[in-house]
């Protein structure tokens, strides 16, 4: 069983625990198979994570967003912009680390 973010779930995965909306209302029960339509529904209901059967070793699931790009692939301009934006933060903190990675990816896409 693995917690999987909505953006990482794929059609064909199977729910390992019931999916509930933020108010606790049951949307989908255990054993249901994920479809693209369901993914849209989850997003609309503000569900951010679901539990999926299996141990999550599917590489699509455990994928670290930053592993999509390697540090040396980051254009200098993007790196400088991100460094400047985050210059007063503690880059060792896991939350900041994640944010720096997300912002880097985001800037690379828009470049």
């Amino acid at each position: 069983m693995a917690n999987v973010r909505i953006k990482d779930i794929k059609q064909g995965m199977v729910l390992a625990s019931p999916a509930r909306d933020p108010n606790g209302r049951l949307l989908l029960s255990v054993g249901e198979e994920i479809t693209d339509k369901l993914i849209c529904t989850f997003k609309a209901w503000g569900i951010t994570e679901v539990e999926i059967e299996g141990n999550g070793d599917d590489e699509r699931v455990t994928e670290d967003p930053f592993s999509e790009v390697r540090a040396e692939q980051v254009p200098l301009q993007v790196r400088e912009e991100v460094d400047e934006l985050f210059r007063y933060t503690d880059r060792q903190h896991p939350a900041i680390k994640e944010l720096v990675e997300l912002c880097t990816l985001r800037k690379m896409k828009s470049h």
């Binding site: 973010r5 503000g46 994570e49 400047e84 934006l85 985050f86 903190h93 939350a95 985001r106």
Partner: protein, 294 residues
């Protein structure tokens, strides 16, 4: 709309900075919220009130009614069928939430008409809305009751800065000069004025008789672990501000992502993995939220 700048002490050069009391008391036009908001609040606070009653009060203000219906029908809520009356809106959104949305629109409207060169109003509210959206997503995730209050907190968190730009532009210029030497903008405010926008905003909300929850959330958004009673409000707003700043959606004057208060992060107990979901949702909702709120 204008401000009473004369009240700012100009005597001793070493004492040129306005006191925070001057700022809050001097802004006559900002002294109170529209009466309709207090009327709505009264109905909401009264356990005997019916949905029809709150509908009746809001419906008297056609501009507010139109705006609220626009918000309720936007992707901000994502209802599948069209909501055409305030009474219907109350039944599906809830009284407290609707009051909070009325508060949000009242405050934005209050500042909207102020002419200015010092601040890009649209960009300012974009940052505030993005912060509100992030706070709301975090609130929903934390299963907090009425996550709409985090949206309001995001909208209001930098209100004190708007006050600085508009009411004491000369002093704000000195702050900006200090800021250009490095550091964060709220630190420069503290260096030059002896207080910062968070304090000014919190005091203004207190003057408006808004609940302590909101006052503390704004007052402590840069140091949430110091909030005496409402640490969750302050911590959510703190993290939401950092996320909005990372996304560079709009700008309220600060160029950098503020440092994260680790105590606040621990209070919320969020996983850093969750952040990408928040950013995604904020990005998805931001442009429409700007359209319906501004």
């Amino acid at each position: 709309m204008h401000f009473e700048k004369d009240e700012v002490s100009l005597g001793d050069p070493s004492d040129r900075a306005p006191s925070i009391e001057d700022l809050i008391e001097g802004s006559v036009q900002l002294g109170s919220l529209p009466t309709i908001f207090h009327q709505i609040n009264e109905v909401v606070e009264n356990p005997e009130s019916s949905f029809a009653e709150i509908g009746l009060i809001i419906s008297k203000d056609t501009a507010l009614t139109a705006r609220l219906l626009k918000i309720v029908n936007s992707s901000f809520f994502g209802f599948s069928s069209k909501v055409e009356t305030i009474t219907h809106a109350v039944t599906i959104v809830g009284m407290v939430q609707l009051r909070d949305l009325a508060l949000a629109t009242a405050i934005i409207n209050k500042f909207k008409g102020i002419p200015n060169d010092a601040v890009n109003m649209r960009s300012f509210w974009q940052h505030s809305i993005a912060t509100g959206l992030a706070g709301r997503v975090i609130g929903v995730y934390l299963k907090e009751a009425n996550p709409e209050r985090f949206y309001i907190l995001g909208l209001l968190h930098d209100l004190g800065r708007l006050l600085l730009y508009l009411a004491v532009p000369e002093d704000m210029s000195r702050v900006l000069i200090q800021y250009s030497h490095g550091g964060l903008l709220h630190e420069a405010e503290n260096d030059v004025l002896g207080w910062d926008h968070a304090e000014a905003g919190g005091r203004l909300l207190r003057k408006w008789d808004l609940p302590d929850r909101l006052v503390e959330g704004v007052l402590y958004h840069h140091n949430p672990s110091r909030a005496p009673r409402y640490q969750v409000e302050a911590a959510v707003t703190h993290v939401a501000d950092i996320l909005a700043q990372s996304l560079e959606l709009g700008n309220s004057g600060e160029r950098y992502v503020p440092p994260l208060d680790n105590e606040a992060w621990k209070i919320l107990g969020l996983s850093s993995k969750f952040l990408s979901t928040v950013l995604e949702q904020v990005e998805r909702q931001a442009s429409e939220a700007v359209k319906v709120f501004l």
